[in-house]
Amino acid sequence: MIRYALRRLATLIPLVVGLSVVVFLYIHMMPGDPVQAMVGRYASPELVEQVRHELGLDRPLQVQFAEWVTGLARGDLGITLRSRQPITPILIGRIPATLELAGAAFFISVVIGIPSGFVAGLMKDTKLDYIFSVTALAGLSTPTFWSGYLLVLLLSLRWGLLPSSGYIPMTEDLKQNLTYLIMPAFTLGIARAPYIAKMTRTAVVETLQEPFVEFSRAKGLKKQRILLRYVWRHALPSIAVVLGLHIAGLLGGSIIVEELFNWPGTGRLVVGAVLERDYFMVQATVLIYAVIVILINFMAEIVHAWLDPRVRLH
């Protein structure tokens, strides 16, 4: 098991190296002069050169790359273009809010998605399964800002049950924190639940086709026992992988949900950075998001191998 984990870990190294190269090149892919775009069209050439020098963008590419990589190794993501503040502390300050939102949404989507997908898989080709498929597709097609808008209209504006947007840190007031969390978490969770449900359904349908299910049935085992004891266990490893892949979608979706509910997480940081043309910040956040996604997928694969010993042999 440990050997498998190490082997998988080794395959991540080129991925992360490739990632840092692609992200580093981002700012250099801009057509025209990024510095000119930052300081504005009417800045004097002297100013442009001064800013370029201050940012270190006038040095050879390989020198810049070496510095960027050594900085990364020390956990230094560079400085922001606008305020020239170090990026790492800003980013770390934003992470708890996003983590809380993504975690709650993950929980909601799993609680809705796995049971409904499981039932639909068992009822394959029945009317219920049909209704399930259409509902899941409709759910996948619903823009998060739209369902979020509806929630705000009903729960905040009409019934006044929940605050429409904002954030209060958990450390300040836990109860308040939760009332602010409910709507964003539901918006994101409901948006992602159909995805998990569909994948769970596929896993269950595939499991039911396995010979061992037929054998247990022939042996006269009770249906419940077959389902809870064998089918579930067999479907679980592939669901674990799906949950890993689900995280990337969750993080992408949280960008819009954070913006909709004024949730001060990393998603809003990204949007702000793009709008302000703070390319260094964009680079840093893209890198962090990708690393998180890669790590979570790695963990999902390890769980997969742990649950399903056959995987380890490959």
Partner: protein, 279 residues
């Protein structure tokens, strides 16, 4: 023709296909069916509620007709989604297929890049690209193209890898067929259904993506209406005038749902085993 016959047996896919045709017709004949000039500013008629005289879906912050703007907006949204996915297909399929067929360093490097990009949420890639090139129609198309090409590269790569070892390909090779001939005559027909399904589904995501970018203020710049841009304009006044963004969002939902229904049905209709081979 066979496709259409099979399509009719799958009710959902059929409904999706008809809805897509209607939406496309709406986009093509937008100037004819729009009840008002979508850019006509009428400050006296700002924020009229839906059902007002002459304005079925009401007006926006500048007194422009919401229905007309949604109809015209379909053009930019569908164009951006369609061309964007088209770019992704060209880039992704080319690199994916070549990588699978000319194994070696090229394959490793290309698939590594695809994997790297695949790890970044697509919305983030799109945001990054629009951040670099500005809010033009071309930039948004390119953003969608870049965001989705890794997906096509990966799908094609794994499909070709599983096909290239199959009996009939080996037979062609034994008969002395060139690589290009094998690629064209043996491999392409087999991955085409796969690509078609992926294209349909990706267009639905791309429409959603454009709307999302727009909501964040990063889609095509005004005054050209696209659904995304309209969502952004409606955002500021959402609490006082929620109907415009709600109707626009509903239109996005309908369009995305239609493509999803069609794509899902297409997957069942076209060789379903192709998907199993991939897993």
């Amino acid at each position: 023709m066979e496709l259409i016959r099979r399509l009719r047996t799958n009710t959902l896919a059929f409904v999706g296909a008809i809805a897509i045709v209607i939406i496309l017709l709406m986009a093509i004949f937008a100037p004819v069916i729009m009840p008002h000039d979508p850019n006509e500013v009428e400050t006296a008629d700002r924020f009229l509620p839906p059902g007002s005289e002459g304005y079925i879906l009401g007006t926006d912050l500048l007194g422009r007709d919401v229905l007309s703007r949604i109809i015209l907006g379909s053009r930019v949204s569908l164009l951006v989604a369609g061309v964007g996915v088209g770019m992704a297909v060209v880039i992704g399929v080319t690199f994916g297929v070549i990588a699978a067929f000319w194994a070696g360093w090229f394959e490793i490097i290309i698939m590594q890049i695809a994997d790297v990009l695949y790890a970044v949420p697509t919305l983030m890639i799109a945001l990054g690209v629009v951040g670099l090139f500005g809010r033009s129609v071309n930039a948004v198309m390119f953003a969608i193209g870049v965001a989705y090409s890794p997906l096509f590269a990966r799908v094609c790569h794994s499909a070709v890898v599983s096909i290239r070892e199959l009996g009939f390909v080996e037979a062609s090779r034994a008969m002395g067929a060139s690589r290009l001939r094998i690629l064209w005559k043996d491999v392409m027909p087999n991955i085409l259904p796969l690509i078609m399904v992926q294209v349909t589904v990706s267009i639905s995501w791309a429409i959603l993506q454009e709307a999302g970018l727009g909501f964040l203020g990063m889609s095509v710049a005004p005054p050209t209406p696209s659904w995304g841009t309209m969502l952004n304009e409606g955002r500021e006044y959402f609490y006082s005038a929620p109907t415009m963004p709600l109707f626009t969002g509903l239109m996005v939902l309908i369009a995305v749902f239609s493509f999803n229904l069609f794509g899902d049905g297409l997957r069942d209709i076209l060789d379903p085993r192709a998907w199993e081979r991939l897993r």
